[in-house]
Amino acid sequence: MSHPRHALDDLLGHPVRFSVTALLAAASKVEFSFVRDHVEVTDSMLSKQVSTLEQAGYVKVDKGFVGKRGRTWLSLTREGRRTFERHLGALREIAQSDGAGAAVRPS
Protein backbone atom coordinates (compact mmCIF):
# COMPACT_ATOMS: atom_id res chain seq x y z
CA MET A 1 0.00 0.00 0.00
CA SER A 2 2.90 2.41 -0.66
CA HIS A 3 1.69 3.83 -3.96
CA PRO A 4 0.27 7.35 -3.48
CA ARG A 5 -2.90 6.41 -5.40
CA HIS A 6 -4.07 4.52 -2.31
CA ALA A 7 -4.42 7.84 -0.51
CA LEU A 8 -6.61 9.30 -3.26
CA ASP A 9 -10.27 9.70 -2.44
CA ASP A 10 -12.76 8.38 -4.99
CA LEU A 11 -15.30 11.14 -4.35
CA LEU A 12 -12.69 13.83 -4.94
CA GLY A 13 -11.68 12.22 -8.22
CA HIS A 14 -14.67 13.94 -9.81
CA PRO A 15 -13.46 17.28 -11.25
CA VAL A 16 -16.41 19.38 -10.00
CA ARG A 17 -16.32 17.86 -6.53
CA PHE A 18 -12.55 18.40 -6.43
CA SER A 19 -12.88 22.09 -7.40
CA VAL A 20 -15.69 22.66 -4.90
CA THR A 21 -13.68 21.04 -2.13
CA ALA A 22 -10.54 22.98 -3.08
CA LEU A 23 -12.48 26.25 -2.89
CA LEU A 24 -14.02 25.34 0.46
CA ALA A 25 -10.67 24.16 1.83
CA ALA A 26 -9.25 27.67 1.46
CA ALA A 27 -12.25 29.22 3.20
CA SER A 28 -14.08 29.21 6.45
CA LYS A 29 -17.49 29.65 4.82
CA VAL A 30 -18.53 30.25 1.23
CA GLU A 31 -21.91 31.20 -0.19
CA PHE A 32 -23.45 28.74 -2.65
CA SER A 33 -23.60 31.31 -5.48
CA PHE A 34 -19.92 32.15 -5.02
CA VAL A 35 -18.98 28.48 -5.46
CA ARG A 36 -21.29 28.20 -8.48
CA ASP A 37 -19.75 31.26 -10.14
CA HIS A 38 -16.13 30.30 -9.49
CA VAL A 39 -16.38 26.60 -10.23
CA GLU A 40 -18.50 27.52 -13.28
CA VAL A 41 -21.33 25.04 -12.90
CA THR A 42 -25.10 25.28 -12.90
CA ASP A 43 -27.14 25.47 -9.69
CA SER A 44 -28.50 21.96 -10.21
CA MET A 45 -25.07 20.46 -10.91
CA LEU A 46 -23.63 22.12 -7.83
CA SER A 47 -26.58 21.04 -5.67
CA LYS A 48 -26.09 17.47 -6.80
CA GLN A 49 -22.36 17.44 -6.07
CA VAL A 50 -22.75 19.26 -2.75
CA SER A 51 -25.40 16.75 -1.75
CA THR A 52 -22.98 13.90 -2.51
CA LEU A 53 -20.23 15.58 -0.48
CA GLU A 54 -22.68 16.30 2.34
CA GLN A 55 -23.78 12.66 2.48
CA ALA A 56 -20.12 11.62 2.66
CA GLY A 57 -19.72 13.95 5.64
CA TYR A 58 -17.25 16.23 3.82
CA VAL A 59 -19.41 19.35 3.51
CA LYS A 60 -21.73 21.17 5.90
CA VAL A 61 -24.64 23.18 4.50
CA ASP A 62 -26.10 26.11 6.45
CA LYS A 63 -29.18 27.95 5.27
CA GLY A 64 -30.08 31.42 6.47
CA PHE A 65 -31.75 34.65 5.49
CA VAL A 66 -30.50 38.16 4.88
CA GLY A 67 -33.71 40.20 4.91
CA LYS A 68 -36.09 38.17 2.75
CA ARG A 69 -33.31 36.66 0.66
CA GLY A 70 -32.30 33.12 1.40
CA ARG A 71 -28.59 32.36 1.49
CA THR A 72 -26.89 29.01 1.60
CA TRP A 73 -23.42 28.75 3.09
CA LEU A 74 -21.08 25.85 2.51
CA SER A 75 -18.12 24.80 4.59
CA LEU A 76 -15.83 21.79 4.83
CA THR A 77 -16.20 19.54 7.84
CA ARG A 78 -13.12 18.42 9.74
CA GLU A 79 -13.38 15.07 8.02
CA GLY A 80 -13.70 16.77 4.62
CA ARG A 81 -10.65 18.92 5.29
CA ARG A 82 -8.62 15.91 6.42
CA THR A 83 -9.64 13.89 3.36
CA PHE A 84 -8.85 16.77 1.02
CA GLU A 85 -5.40 17.25 2.58
CA ARG A 86 -4.67 13.55 2.19
CA HIS A 87 -5.90 13.64 -1.42
CA LEU A 88 -3.73 16.70 -2.15
CA GLY A 89 -0.72 15.00 -0.59
CA ALA A 90 -1.20 11.99 -2.85
CA LEU A 91 -1.56 14.25 -5.89
CA ARG A 92 1.68 16.02 -4.95
CA GLU A 93 3.50 12.71 -4.71
CA ILE A 94 2.13 11.57 -8.06
CA ALA A 95 2.98 14.90 -9.68
CA GLN A 96 6.55 14.61 -8.43
CA SER A 97 6.92 11.03 -9.59
CA ASP A 98 8.47 10.28 -12.98
CA GLY A 99 5.26 8.62 -14.08
CA ALA A 100 6.55 5.07 -13.90
CA GLY A 101 3.67 2.99 -12.65
CA ALA A 102 1.62 6.07 -11.92
CA ALA A 103 0.82 6.95 -15.48
CA VAL A 104 -1.07 3.74 -16.15
CA ARG A 105 -4.75 4.45 -16.24
CA PRO A 106 -7.29 1.63 -16.50
CA SER A 107 -9.34 1.90 -19.67
Binding site: S19, A22, L23, V39, I94, R105
Partner: protein
Protein backbone atom coordinates in the same frame (compact mmCIF):
# COMPACT_ATOMS: atom_id res chain seq x y z
CA UNK B 1 -9.05 4.54 -2.23
CA UNK B 2 -9.16 5.34 -5.93
CA UNK B 3 -9.13 2.68 -8.62
CA UNK B 4 -7.82 4.98 -11.34
CA UNK B 5 -4.56 6.81 -10.97
CA UNK B 6 -3.99 10.22 -12.49
CA UNK B 7 -0.85 10.76 -14.51
CA UNK B 8 1.74 13.18 -13.04
CA UNK B 9 0.49 15.79 -15.50
CA UNK B 10 -3.11 15.30 -14.42
CA UNK B 11 -2.07 15.45 -10.78
CA UNK B 12 -0.18 18.68 -11.46
CA UNK B 13 -3.24 20.11 -13.22
CA UNK B 14 -5.40 19.21 -10.19
CA UNK B 15 -2.91 20.91 -7.85
CA UNK B 16 -2.97 24.02 -10.03
CA UNK B 17 -6.79 23.99 -9.92
CA UNK B 18 -6.71 23.71 -6.11
CA UNK B 19 -4.34 26.67 -5.96
CA UNK B 20 -6.54 28.70 -8.31
CA UNK B 21 -9.58 28.13 -6.11
CA UNK B 22 -7.61 29.10 -2.98
CA UNK B 23 -6.54 32.36 -4.65
CA UNK B 24 -10.22 33.20 -5.34
CA UNK B 25 -10.97 33.02 -1.61
CA UNK B 26 -7.92 35.09 -0.67
CA UNK B 27 -8.97 37.71 -3.21
CA UNK B 28 -12.48 37.98 -1.77
CA UNK B 29 -10.97 38.30 1.71
CA UNK B 30 -9.76 41.72 0.58
CA UNK B 31 -13.31 42.98 1.16
CA UNK B 32 -12.66 42.57 4.87
CA UNK B 33 -9.66 44.87 4.43
CA UNK B 34 -11.93 47.47 2.82
CA UNK B 35 -14.36 47.24 5.75
CA UNK B 36 -11.50 47.82 8.20
CA UNK B 37 -10.36 50.82 6.15
CA UNK B 38 -13.97 52.05 6.08
CA UNK B 39 -14.05 52.12 9.87
CA UNK B 40 -10.76 54.05 9.84
CA UNK B 41 -12.16 56.47 7.24
CA UNK B 42 -15.25 57.21 9.36
CA UNK B 43 -13.08 57.81 12.39
CA UNK B 44 -10.67 60.03 10.46
CA UNK B 45 -13.53 62.03 8.91
CA UNK B 46 -15.01 62.71 12.35
CA UNK B 47 -11.52 63.63 13.63
CA UNK B 48 -11.00 66.01 10.71
CA UNK B 49 -14.35 67.71 11.33
CA UNK B 50 -13.60 68.09 15.02
CA UNK B 51 -10.18 69.55 14.20
CA UNK B 52 -11.81 72.41 12.26
CA UNK B 53 -13.78 73.59 15.30
CA UNK B 54 -12.53 76.51 17.41
CA UNK B 55 -13.54 74.45 20.45
CA UNK B 56 -14.41 70.74 19.91
CA UNK B 57 -16.44 70.75 23.12
CA UNK B 58 -18.85 73.32 21.62
CA UNK B 59 -19.59 71.87 18.20
CA UNK B 60 -22.85 73.55 17.22
CA UNK B 61 -25.72 72.13 15.16
CA UNK B 62 -24.02 72.19 11.73
CA UNK B 63 -20.89 70.30 12.71
CA UNK B 64 -22.93 67.98 14.93
CA UNK B 65 -25.17 67.07 11.99
CA UNK B 66 -22.14 66.63 9.73
CA UNK B 67 -20.54 64.21 12.19
CA UNK B 68 -23.80 62.31 12.57
CA UNK B 69 -24.18 62.11 8.77
CA UNK B 70 -20.61 60.79 8.37
CA UNK B 71 -21.20 58.13 11.00
CA UNK B 72 -24.63 57.03 9.71
CA UNK B 73 -23.61 56.93 6.04
CA UNK B 74 -20.35 55.21 6.93
CA UNK B 75 -21.96 52.57 9.12
CA UNK B 76 -24.73 51.85 6.60
CA UNK B 77 -22.06 51.48 3.91
CA UNK B 78 -20.09 49.07 6.06
CA UNK B 79 -23.17 46.96 6.79
CA UNK B 80 -23.99 46.81 3.06
CA UNK B 81 -20.43 45.68 2.23
CA UNK B 82 -20.51 43.16 5.09
CA UNK B 83 -23.79 41.65 3.86
CA UNK B 84 -22.39 41.36 0.34
CA UNK B 85 -19.48 39.19 1.47
CA UNK B 86 -19.90 35.79 -0.15
CA UNK B 87 -16.82 34.03 1.18
CA UNK B 88 -14.14 34.46 3.79
CA UNK B 89 -11.21 32.49 5.03
CA UNK B 90 -10.56 31.64 8.65
CA UNK B 91 -7.37 33.74 8.68
CA UNK B 92 -9.15 36.65 6.99
CA UNK B 93 -11.99 36.81 9.51
CA UNK B 94 -9.55 36.33 12.42
CA UNK B 95 -7.41 39.23 11.19
CA UNK B 96 -10.56 41.33 10.80
CA UNK B 97 -11.80 40.74 14.35
CA UNK B 98 -8.27 41.01 15.77
CA UNK B 99 -7.88 44.36 14.00
CA UNK B 100 -11.21 45.74 15.21
CA UNK B 101 -10.59 44.41 18.74
CA UNK B 102 -7.08 45.87 18.89
CA UNK B 103 -8.40 49.17 17.58
CA UNK B 104 -11.05 49.31 20.32
CA UNK B 105 -8.46 48.64 22.99
CA UNK B 106 -5.82 50.97 21.51
CA UNK B 107 -8.41 53.71 20.98
CA UNK B 108 -9.36 53.49 24.65
CA UNK B 109 -5.70 53.80 25.63
CA UNK B 110 -5.13 56.78 23.29
CA UNK B 111 -8.22 58.59 24.59
CA UNK B 112 -7.27 57.79 28.21
CA UNK B 113 -3.69 59.01 27.80
CA UNK B 114 -4.86 62.10 25.87
CA UNK B 115 -7.20 63.07 28.70
CA UNK B 116 -4.73 62.21 31.47
CA UNK B 117 -1.95 64.29 29.90
CA UNK B 118 -4.39 67.17 29.21
CA UNK B 119 -3.63 66.81 25.49
CA UNK B 120 -7.38 67.25 24.90
CA UNK B 121 -7.86 69.99 27.52
CA UNK B 122 -10.02 72.98 26.57
CA UNK B 123 -6.94 75.21 26.41
CA UNK B 124 -5.36 72.98 23.73
CA UNK B 125 -5.85 73.59 19.99
CA UNK B 126 -8.51 71.57 18.11
CA UNK B 127 -6.02 69.74 15.90
CA UNK B 128 -4.92 67.78 18.98
CA UNK B 129 -8.17 65.88 18.63
CA UNK B 130 -7.32 65.02 15.01
CA UNK B 131 -3.82 63.84 15.96
CA UNK B 132 -5.27 61.55 18.64
CA UNK B 133 -7.64 60.09 16.04
CA UNK B 134 -4.79 59.49 13.57
CA UNK B 135 -2.82 57.62 16.26
CA UNK B 136 -5.94 55.66 17.31
CA UNK B 137 -6.64 54.25 13.83
CA UNK B 138 -3.14 52.77 13.35
CA UNK B 139 -4.28 49.20 14.27
CA UNK B 140 -6.95 49.37 11.55
CA UNK B 141 -4.36 50.19 8.88
CA UNK B 142 -2.12 47.39 10.14
CA UNK B 143 -5.07 44.94 10.02
CA UNK B 144 -5.98 46.01 6.46
CA UNK B 145 -2.34 45.59 5.37
CA UNK B 146 -2.16 42.11 6.96
CA UNK B 147 -5.38 41.07 5.21
CA UNK B 148 -4.22 42.37 1.83
CA UNK B 149 -0.70 40.97 1.92
CA UNK B 150 -1.98 37.40 2.08
Amino acid sequence: MSESTPTPLEAQAALTEANTQAVQVHRVDHQLGWIVLGIAAIYLAVGALMSTLPDPRRGGPVIGSAILAVMVVGLVGLVVVFLRIRAYSRTGILLYFAGVGTFSLWNGIVVGVSIATRWLASTQPSYHFGISVVVAVIPLFVAAWLIWRR
